[in-house]
């Protein structure tokens, strides 16, 4: 894992004696919470347990720890890699242990969180259908055909919801379902390989 010079300085600060063990533990918890719940960075300023620490220094430590965890999870760094990075930053063994444990316990969650940040085509979230019986119209009597109306609920990258609505006859729906079944089957086959 490669970290920038300023991040390394921030981590060295976090490992220094200017932050006591209690505050350090508290800070790591807040860092994790910030990443997972997308909380406002101001929580570190408002936290009573951290009020004794110099605000500028606190911010620097906070941002460096966030970068450490995200960069580790992003590049899928293992425990050894994480430990050696922290050792290079001259952290004490017990603080290294705190961070490595925190990282290991939450790595899967962090990666899942990062996995949700993605650009994609409109994403299918649900489907709705309706079955009607087309009896007649002003142009034509005795049509007597079933008609399906299908609505695909999708969500775009920015969270905007959009529905794709279309109608189809029984034969067309059969065709559609046939093709979807093909896709599901090949997916199943693929996952068993």
């Amino acid at each position: 894992m490669e970290l920038s010079g300023s991040t390394v300085t921030g981590l060295q600060l976090a490992g220094s004696s200017s932050i006591d063990d209690k505050s350090f533990n508290r800070l790591t918890q807040l860092v994790l919470q910030s990443i997972m719940e997308d909380t406002d960075p101001s929580i570190i300023q408002d936290d009573g347990k951290l009020s004794k620490i110099n605000q500028g220094m606190l911010k620097e430590c906070y941002s460096s720890l966030i970068i450490l965890l995200i960069e580790g999870a992003r590049t899928d760094t293992d425990t050894t890699g994480m430990r050696s990075t922290l050792e290079d930053c001259k952290l004490t063994p017990d603080r290294i242990e705190v961070l490595v444990t925190l990282y290991n316990d939450n790595k899967a969650k962090l990666r899942a969180r990062l996995g949700r940040i993605r650009s994609s085509f409109p994403y299918l979230t649900d489907v709705n259908w309706r079955l009607d019986y087309y009896i007649k119209s002003n142009h034509l009597e005795r049509v007597d055909k079933p008609v399906y109306t299908i609505s695909l609920n999708t969500e775009e990258g920015d969270g905007k919801k959009k529905d794709v609505i279309f109608s189809c006859t029984q034969e067309q729906l059969q065709d559609l379902v046939g093709k979807l079944k093909d896709a599901s089957k090949s997916l199943e086959k693929f996952s068993q390989q």
Partner: protein, 199 residues
């Protein structure tokens, strides 16, 4: 179901009884042309000249014939109802039979034309799919995330459009199952009963 012919319509059609059957057939062909491609006034004047009548008579009887074919196709009347409906015109039996034969020959084509005129909703035409595994992204390296790209083709009023949608295995299976349920619903007792009842 009987057709209701107006007095005006009857007068327009009455001309058909004064001409040869072959002329009626020709008029029917012109009517079908009219339905498919719109009126062709040149044909009217040509036919009028040949038959020695004025253009308006030809035009009216062609239009009358066309209206008769469209109305009976719209209602999808059967043989007995068709013959009963045109009995009022007082044509001889041969002409009646000829008219019915023309109706029978062309009704399915007219019905499909009428069907295409009916209001058109965006409807399904095709689906393409592609199975992928996402391996890496800017925010997350070294991942294996199965993903399915669907490309749905629809058409509305002859204008095709394409929707590209991405999904994951769970949603794909949910989609497939939901639509399969929808397809099976048509065979349910409730649907069959209602559909039988309406027919």
């Amino acid at each position: 179901m009987l057709l209701v012919l107006t007095e005006e319509h009857k007068t327009h059609l009455s001309f058909l009884s004064t001409v040869d059957i072959s002329v009626v057939r020709e008029f029917c062909r012109i009517s079908m042309e009219f339905i498919k491609n719109g009126p062709n006034t040149k044909l009217y004047s040509g036919a009028a000249q040949k038959l020695g009548v004025d253009t308006a008579t030809v035009r009216q009887s062609v239009q009358g014939l066309m209206f008769l074919l469209v109305e009976s196709s719209k209602l999808s009347v059967n043989e007995i109802d068709f013959l009963d409906s045109i009995m009022i015109l007082g044509f001889d039996e041969e002409l009646n039979k000829e008219l019915y034969a023309l109706y029978e020959e062309n009704s399915s084509e007219i019905r499909s034309l009428l069907m295409s005129m009916s209001l058109d909703l965006p409807h399904y035409t095709d689906l393409e799919w592609r199975l992928e595994a996402q391996l890496s992204s800017r925010s997350l390296e070294r991942q294996v995330q199965p993903s399915i790209l669907l490309r749905l083709h629809t058409e509305e009023e002859g204008v095709p459009s394409v929707h590209t949608i991405e999904t994951d295995p769970v949603n794909l299976i949910h989609l497939t199952n939901s639509l399969e349920t929808a397809l099976a619903e048509i065979k349910s007792q409730h649907c069959r009963r209602i559909m039988r009842g309406i027919k």
